[in-house]
Symmetry: C4
Subunit: 219 residues, 4 copies
């Protein structure tokens, strides 16, 4: 009986409950990514058919387009990581589903910092709010990852070195986002560049990568 009850509380990969968690997550990601476009406002023109006026107005709003593109890429990147993460899960439990909801709250919130960044790219506080939001998302990724490793939810438990490497790779963006906060008060452009430090790091980190890590880890 006890065993039976314990089994009820986890939801296996081929069941309706696992699928729902995934479908709900995908729906929320898709909406958050599509809502980004809502912050792009059609400019008001004095001469409706003037190419130069429209071009001027749109180039004034260039940072809204840049922040749309960055946020789409960022959320897309998190979705890819989430996709890979869930592909390694054999089952979910209620705690993981709840942690996943917390993670999604910060994904759903992202269109706001994105709009803020688009409107006030030169304002250090916009950068700080955006960076803190992403640091939390990346931090939650680590929480989800270690929870699955430590509660028998993965299809195959990761070897210690692979687990550590994976956790380090997910923590690195947290560090970069936090680093960008003081930098934002010097230069907001430089701060935004910090967010992409993960790209060279990923190249360097290849050296330390334990054997089999690629196949076992989130993206």
């Amino acid at each position: 009986m006890q065993e039976n009850l314990a089994r009820r509380r986890t939801y296996e990969r081929d069941g309706v409950e696992f699928s729902r968690t995934v479908a709900f997550t995908d729906g929320l990601f898709a909406i958050a990514m599509t809502l980004l476009v809502v912050s792009l406002a059609v400019p008001t023109l004095s001469d409706e058919s003037s190419v130069s006026e429209l071009a001027d107005k749109l180039s004034d709003d260039i940072s809204t387009f840049v922040s749309f593109a960055i946020s789409f890429a960022v959320i897309g990147r998190y979705w890819l990581a989430h996709h890979t993460y869930f592909s390694a899960l054999a089952r979910v439990d209620r705690t993981l589903i709840t942690l996943n909801l917390v993670y999604l709250a910060f994904i759903a919130f992202l269109p706001f910092p994105t709009a803020l960044l688009g409107a006030y790219f030169s304002n250090p506080l916009s950068i700080v709010i955006y960076a803190v939001n992403l640091a939390i998302v990346s931090g939650m990724e680590v929480v989800l990852f270690s929870y699955a490793q430590n509660h028998e939810l993965l299809e195959q438990k990761l070897p210690r070195d692979v687990y550590r490497y994976g956790a380090a790779m997910s923590l690195a963006p947290v560090a970069f986002f936090l680093l960008s906060i003081p930098v934002a008060f010097l230069s907001t452009t430089l701060a935004a560049c910090c967010w992409f430090l993960g790209i060279p790091l990923a190249a360097i980190a290849q050296r330390w990568k334990p054997k089999g890590a690629d196949e076992l880890l989130l993206g």
Copy 2:
């Protein structure tokens, strides 16, 4: 023949129709949760790069962020309960699907009371509208729950004491939301606190919980 027709009217757990009901519900929840962010407006600044002005404007809007967070948590909590509820269902019928749509109407409506609460937290009427909306959602939960119990839709019919305990636990929030209505006219903050009375209650209610309730009931 009669039996065959009766079977057509219920949709088993592994069929397309059961999945559609679940997928539609998940889609609507995901959208309602993501739309909450639309009520967060980017403030207008006189000095675009002024940290203090942006900080002031955002802290003026603090109640919109608090109401985003509360509503995300509240809808997330309902989604979790819905997830657990459906995990106990063996099949759905057309009446349950219709009741589920009524339930979803009040979930879809929530972004409006949320925006109202964010804009006018000190206004007792905002609190009343929000509380009535949530009372209806919790009430519909009880309706869905008892309908499934009484129409052979659950995988295993609940023992009488477990059913009563579950119905009471779902009705408690209705009572707390209704209680907050008169309280709102004394203090809106105190009224909002009433909404969280479920947390201590859940702890106390552990004592009366019938054996096996945890495993059989909605969250």
Copy 3:
């Protein structure tokens, strides 16, 4: 070979392509229903904590709430019918998928006539636009229904009398919506009442219902 190719063009109920059509439809319905709330604007108050002022402003907007409720009920009703319709399908083909997209275009458009109706309920043109939109949706329902019947897409082809009864029941709303158009110029409230003529009709139509119709027809 020819037979093999012909088979490729239809997508059976248990395949990915059938599911996608259904999932896409459900997503679009869920979004259209949730977007209705976006047209509900938070009023501007001179005294933020005044209950009477907020109550006045909200009751000025009463028609936006009524039109939210009507449209949620209407779209929910169409979703239920679509759900029942697809439950009778054994497969879809590309033409049906395309017809389904046309049908969905008018579902996706509905939030606009809803907002129009909410803003200008007393304007006959709002009623006309809303009624025409719904007449097209109901008309497309008949098209989808007869296409499936005549192209071997149903799990079991309907007997002639059941098919005719079903088509008539789907055409009736078209008639009521069209009827409401001239009525709107006399009284917009009376016109809106025409939309609900289907309820007494459904009760009366029970008499003419062929045997087995309930089990075989869309809702």
Copy 4:
């Protein structure tokens, strides 16, 4: 071992990961199509119940309705093509999923050029932005198509002539969209007509179509 690892990186048609990619795509398409309606604003009337004033205001906004209709048809058309494309896939890999996200970024962006076109149809720059966006979407279609062909992702590899024909048919819209850019500076209406050159082309191209192309190619 090496083989096992290689297999992990592709996701077969009947697995959760394939479904997620499809579900995420369908969600994003459904939202992009439904968000188009958000750019349709309810006009402000001086006499709320005046039919002629509302009719005038709405006919002033006629281009927003036309651009809603065109964009719904265009995105619907892409969704159909994507549906057919995925029906030919036996599996996906991480690169294809990433390319699919890039493709989706331009689908998610479409509501903005649509709103721009609706507001300033007579402005050549609106036409250019819309055309460039669609040219990229069609171009990405070709990229997705050739990637699948060359990386063993299709259920059956296409014969050379069918592959070439399919790529040409997908590239044709790119040419038409690019052609419309210079035309826009002569006449924006004429430019919009260029977008539909695919319809006569498809009729003419029937002649050159290799045997079996219909059955093997994206729509």
